[in-house]
């Protein structure tokens, strides 16, 4: 396993969480916009507006996954090299943003 000593447990855990949730955010956009009668309608019912539900889902997922990742490996947190973590984080944010923009470019 790669050396992770250079970055703190929470720095790694929440970076990984951010990467995962960036992609989940984009996937949720596609799923809800493609399922207006089911997923989008359910998200609207939950809080009164689909975007509020979407925002709560994203923030709660970020906090929960970051906490879970920090509890991995007997409480030492996820093990990943700094360079790999950086690639994952930047890649996921860029892909997440590009998927959303691409989706609305096609669908809009």
């Amino acid at each position: 396993m790669a050396n992770t000593d250079s970055l703190g447990k929470y720095t790694v855990s929440y970076a990984l969480s951010l990467a995962v949730v960036s992609v989940l955010n984009a996937l949720l956009v596609i799923v809800k916009e493609s399922s207006e009668d089911t997923v989008l309608a359910w998200m609207k019912r939950l809080t009164g507006h689909h975007w509020i539900t979407h925002g709560i889902f994203v923030v709660v997922a970020f906090v929960a996954l970051g906490w879970l990742f920090s509890r991995a490996n007997g409480g030492r947190g996820m093990q990943i090299s700094a360079s790999r973590l950086l690639s994952l984080l930047v890649g996921a944010v860029v892909v997440g943003g590009a998927v959303i923009a691409g989706f609305y470019l096609i669908e809009g």
Partner: protein, 154 residues
Amino acid sequence: MTGGVEGLMMVHVLFGMLCIVAAVWVFVDVLNVSEANLARIRLMSMAVAVFMWLAYLIGGYWYVTYYAADKAVILKGAWPWAHNFFMEMKEHVVLLLVLLTTYLPIAAAGNLAANKSARTLVLWVVGLIALIGVAMDGSGAIIGVGAKIGLMPH
């Protein structure tokens, strides 16, 4: 639309701009990091997060409460894509900005002066915040112009 609501939108833009300025501040401070400016980097990283959350909550309140009327105007105007692409994209990409700015104080908590990996990570995070922030600001401007064009006589 009332003056108070317009004022709310201006406060949303103000906090968004402050977030970008603070992110650029952190970027420059991290490039010149030493033990002397570590506390300021952490403080400004927290400021980036606070400014973004204020922009997000105020803009979100405005969007959920008042945007439907603007949307109808934009869609009837000559720039329907100001909503169909820019607003739809903005309201979801901005969540990446919320996550990145929330993460920044965590990433900046380490000793950036001694740790090159942590320094590189923070530089990428604030770089993304500044770039996405400018994209959101520009999208907001296009949406505003879309509404203005929608109100013009055809």
